[in-house]
Amino acid sequence: NTHLSPEDVGVELPLEDAQRLWAKHEDSTRNLALVLTEHLRLILHPTQATRMRGDFRTGKRLNIKRIIPYIASSYKRDKIWMRRSVPTKRSYQVMLAIDDSKSMAESDSQELAFMTLALIAKSMSMLEVGELSVVGFGEQVKVAHDFSTPFTSDAGSRILQQFTFSQSKTNVQRLLTESIEMFRAARLKAAGSASDLWQLQLIISDGICEDHPAIRQLIRQAHEERIMVVFIVVDPATLSPGVASGTKQSILDLQTAEFVKDAMGEMQLKMNKYLDTFPFRYYLIVRDLQDLPGVLAGALRQWFSETVDSGT
């Protein structure tokens, strides 16, 4: 039985232990980091081939899709031309947000979360595509590493020290609200450079959060500000069905029960699969770290193709 008070925080890891732990995770994810780096290199760097795109008043080639609206609008909507576009150099601000709530410790997700962190952080720093930050979230949001600090092994162990997996709430709404603010501030700071800035948030969590409609709203807002949010669900639950007495369970099997009013005003029990209302559009479920490079690359590739094609 676990009693928690708001002041009750877990014990911070001594620096030496944190260094040893970080070295271990870096070591065990070294090969996978190379795989992920290669995937990301292809996705994050814009293709050099130039394409015809855009809606311009003058240009090289007619945009066929614009002709009918052009005529229908009595020739007022005259941005009917496409031009050859040259891709600009892209830079990235990537925020890793790690669930520091108590449920992470309960589901034995910390280890997989730390390994995911080591893997992604390593790849991103090898790619040298931009800045990396790490935040912890639960009841509060805490910056464990900010965008302006270079990411070294030393930084890695200091980040580990700041996670205790003892926060007594998982407030994803607050995480999103505060990270949108942080991304805005980071964009302003980067405004000097000539390159095209892309912002990406990777949330690493056991996936249990409340108030899905409000979260959906915030993700839409992030999207409008060109912040991509990918939710990485770490799901270390054993697949063996023999553990009937255990509380360990995959998020894929988690059910929710709710009472909702029916047409007659009677309260009716409604049961759903938890993931059916999961608000994140881009999410991946990771049980085995080996799968991460491939699935993460897949999600990013999809996002890029959708974003670039819609001509944002």
């Binding site: 008070s5 449920s103 007594s168 509380t247 369970q249 929710t256 029960a257 009472f259 029990l269 938890y274």
Partner: protein
Amino acid sequence: METSTTTAKVKIHLTTRSEDIQLPVETGPILVPTELRRYQLSTLVNTLLETVQPVPLEFLVNGQFLRTSLDEYLTQNGISAETTLNVEYVKALIPPLHVASY
């Protein structure tokens, strides 16, 4: 601190010692609103058991009969909703009264 309108949820793991009202093994923990009380939990278990005639049930959390909502129980006992609650159910010996009991 802004106030949140969120309906808090908690994972519960339902168990019983009575052979005849065991849940199927694969049911696993269920995420429920913390506002649930005995009556709703009873509806939930009966639904899961697909009983024709509902069996009135009582619920024990950490050995105590649940007489409040789960939320009040958590608050009174200083337990975080991040923890999976072990909830044991037993057949109610007497028909439950529609008055508050202490």
